[in-house]
């Protein structure tokens, strides 16, 4: 059994089921992200783990102990909120020491733990300030220190970076990950930002309409999405409509161009499917070997500096592809007939 | 969760009882003028009383004048303070809050002392003077409400840009204030105005001490000399207060200006 075990979790507000049969095991020290658009139920799951919402059914266990019925203040779970939620009437030190104080910890022990935490977040000189005297990034660090000070078993982060500027977001992202690794604390991180989820996590849970669509490492999620939603939500994607001609042989029809995928497909013959490819695996020109080669015309060229994003109109839709800028080779002209190649292996097949 | 809701309902129920009983009592009493039957007799008597008509009419006119004068004094001040003299804000706010701190009876006592018949400005000596003094006194009483609602209204619009836009189109100050600023804070001005109306209409201390026969002293006189009519007057006064507050709600909720604000 995993360290944090969520089984068949359901939550309904009236007739609306916002979380449906959610299952997840998080190992000790693991960093797991819940990724999904707003309203997908990711925050609701997090709030049920924290104890702010009561599940309609299902169970949440930590180290084999069922905590589903336990009130939030007896769960020993740390939480960081999107809007910092520092207590405005307390100084940074008092905020960080809050959990220890209400637990009845001694003054000396509290002081040394608070000092330790201030060192950890790199703000040892700001202990006497009030929250309004801090920048957003500093406030969120303090919130993190406050959540960690009472040594929680699990740390929950509810979109902690989305209220911050882009630059601070990236540096704080790295800092959170560093602190999490140093302390080895089991962490759940909720975000709608795929870059955050992919770059920080050991595993990512992609959520959609209350369901965990796919659970996997960032590499798996990105390269081997199992559902159309995951493929589209994570990263940018080219989608081409196709019809299965021969499922066993992996033959499909893109418009009226036959394409062989060289592997058996799950769909039945005659079924409509989607072929999906990330822009970075599509190359301009004919590649030999196990590649699918399609003919088309240049429809659009965006010169972005180091990268040139080109759109090619092929049978079944538009294909986006990225090439690196090469000073000796100017970008192709609109309307030029070209061929593009995609490796069979990397071409994803999704239900239409 | 259910415990919390239970206590909330309990608090609201007890509060409701305390606040509704006097209203019921007042209404019940006002209907008992004819023995043995509920009737509107007390209201008929009150409404037919020429002194009621006269004092009530006087107070309505006075309240309206108070509102007009209040707007004339407060709107330009609030506007220019926001636009040009932000440093004066604390002082102005302090002054406008003074009428909540200094008891009104003290203020009117000061009037009687400063503007009596033997002073440089013997306002209390003449009918006109007394009425003007009462009017000014009511404007003072309305200052906290007027200023705060107008200032809140100004806060929600970008008066600096509006002013510059109007100036660049060739508008002068009077025009900017009346055509640009006032319509934009109209809802706030109205809520201040209705509040002022509710306060002034039944005011007693100022009027009584300045010897003016307005609605407030009339009510007190009735209270001392009649049994059922005072309750009818109270119901009427309560209805006026309700109407004022209801109108404020109506205007703030359904104003096209306020929709943008939310």
């Amino acid at each position: 059994m995993a360290f944090l075990d969520i089984q068949h979790l359901e939550k309904a507000f009236g007739a609306m089921r916002v979380v449906k049969d959610f299952n997840l095991g998080v190992e000790k020290g693991e960093f797991v992200s819940f990724l999904g658009p707003s309203g997908c139920g990711k925050t609701t799951v997090l709030r049920m783990v924290a104890g702010f919402e009561t599940p309609t059914s299902g169970a949440i266990c930590i180290e084999g102990r069922n905590i589903t019925g336990l009130p939030a203040n007896r769960r020993n779970i740390g939480m960081v909120f999107q809007a910092y939620a520092l207590f405005p009437n307390l100084t940074v030190e008092e905020n960080i020491g809050f959990g220890l104080k209400v637990a009845g910890e001694g003054k000396a022990a509290t002081r040394s733990r608070v000092g330790e935490m201030l060192e950890l977040i790199g703000l040892p000189q700001l202990g006497g300030r009030y929250p309004f005297q801090l920048s957003g990034g500093q406030q969120q660090r303090v919130a993190l220190a406050r959540a960690l000070a009472p040594r929680p078993q699990v740390l929950l982060l509810d979109e902690p970076l989305s209220a911050l500027d882009a630059k601070i977001r990236i540096s704080l992202r790295e800092e959170i990950r560093r602190i999490q690794r140093d302390l080895g604390i089991t962490t759940i991180f909720v975000t709608h930002d795929q870059e955050e989820a992919l770059s920080m996590s050991d595993r990512v849970v992609v959520m959609h309409q209350g369901i965990a669509d796919q659970v996997g490492t960032p590499f798996e999620i990105y390269n081997r999405p199992t559902t159309r939603f995951v493929a589209q939500f994570v990263g940018s994607l080219n989608l081409l409509d196709a019809n299965v001609v021969d499922a066993a042989a992996g033959k499909v029809l893109l418009g009226d161009v036959p394409v062989s995928l060289n592997r058996p497909l799950l769909g039945r013959s005659g079924e409509r499917i989607s072929l999906a490819a990330r822009p970075e695996i599509v190359t301009l020109g004919r590649s030999d070997g196990d590649h699918v080669v399609l003919a088309g015309r240049i429809a659009d060229v965006h010169f972005l500096g180091s990268v040139i994003r080109i759109r090619v109109a092929v049978e079944g839709g538009l294909l986006s592809l990225d090439t690196f800028n090469q000073p000796d080779r100017p970008p192709p002209l609109l309307g030029t007939p070209v061929e593009v190649s995609v490796s069979h292996r990397d071409l994803l097949v999704l239900a239409a | 969760m259910t415990g919390k809701r239970f206590w909330s309902w309990l608090a609201v129920t007890f509060g409701g009882l305390y606040f509704l009983l006097p209203l019921v009592g007042m209404f019940d009493f006002s209907m008992r003028m004819q023995r043995g039957a509920y009737s509107f007799e007390a209201y008929r008597v009150v409404l037919a009383d020429p002194r009621f008509q006269q004092t009530f009419g006087y107070s309505v006119v006075l309240a309206l004048l108070t509102i007009v004068l209040g707007i004339l004094i407060v709107v330009p001040t609030a506007y220019f303070v926001r636009l040009r003299f932000p440093g004066l804000r604390p002082i102005i706010e302090f002054i406008t809050l003074l009428p909540l701190v200094i008891p009104p009876i003290v203020i009117v006592f000061g009037y009687i002392r400063i503007y009596n018949t033997s002073s440089i400005l013997p306002l209390t000596g003449s009918w006109w003077g007394t009425n003007i003094l009462l009017l000014f006194g009511y404007v003072v009483l309305s200052l906290p409400y007027m200023y705060r609602s107008v200032d809140t209204g100004l806060r929600t619009i970008d008066i600096a840009s509006l002013t510059e836009a109007a100036q660049s189109l060739g508008a002068g100050w009077a025009r900017i204030l009346t055509v640009v600023i006032l319509p934009n804070v109209f809802v706030s001005v109205l809520s201040g105005a209705f509040l002022t109306f509710a306060i002034v209409i039944g005011e007693y201390v100022f009027a009584a001490l300045l010897n003016v026969n307005s609605f407030g002293p009339y009510m007190v006189w009735m209270g001392g000399n009649r049994a059922y009519e005072p309750s009818a007057l109270a119901v009427i006064a309560f209805a006026i207060t309700w109407a004022c507050m209801g109108l404020i709600q109506l205007f703030t909720r359904f104003s096209i200006f306020s929709i943008v604000r939310r």
Binding site: - | K4, G110, G216
Partner: protein
Amino acid sequence: MNTSALSLPATLRPRQIISWFGVAPFFLFALLFLILPTLNIVVGAFRNAQGQATLQNLGKLFSPSIQSAFWISIELSLLTAVLGCLFGFLIAAAITLGGLPRPLRNAILTFSGVASNFAGVPLAFAFIATLGRLGFVTMLLRQWFGINLYGSGFSIVSFLGLALTYLYFQIPLMVLIITPALDGLRREWREAAESLGASGFQYWRLVALPVLWPSLLGTLALLFANAFGAVATAIALTGSSLSIAPIVLFAQIRGDVLNDPHLGYAIAFAMIMLTAIANGIYILLRMRAERWVK
């Protein structure tokens, strides 16, 4: 005037002058009809009939009858301010945090707007009609429960009756002022406190009440001044049978009692001082309580 002021660009000056014309009426008005009258009273309290400086007037305040009038006033104001704060807080908490239906909240807020302005003469009439000798509730209690309110010593024309009546505008005023403050308590604060192991009581003691403290104090001071200056309600309710400070002053001004205008000055001055002290205490405490606010 220094040179930098003189060397202002010419285009700026007419603009400044117009702006000053915009605010000048306000200052003139406030000076003539608010500040000077008040100052006149303050100065008058320290002068005798011949215009010489004296402390005699203030000394007269300590005569037993006037002293007791002030004590009753202070007790009445303090009691109704504290109770108004307490009950108003409970109702405001019920409608903001208590999970009551939204329309009820709006209805109560609107009603509070009405009730807090329904002071003065009509309010007194309403209470006489309710708790007077022949009042609605008095009769109800007698007929339904056999309780004789007036037999047990209650009277609407008493300290208790006056306090009950004052609460009718004190409580709604508190509700109106404290509801936005309670709305300002963010849900996340409570949740953060809970996730850190705090009980509901600890959350209120360590976070919510300290955050609300300045508003609570401010309202207390305001309610005190509000009750202290309320004359019309008291006069319409009790005539002049209950001797509270503003009624004594009212009688002084009317000349009903021994006509000594300088004693009137002293009473008025003492009233200003008391409300000023209440507000001074409030400002002081607020500054201390609000270190953490911008």
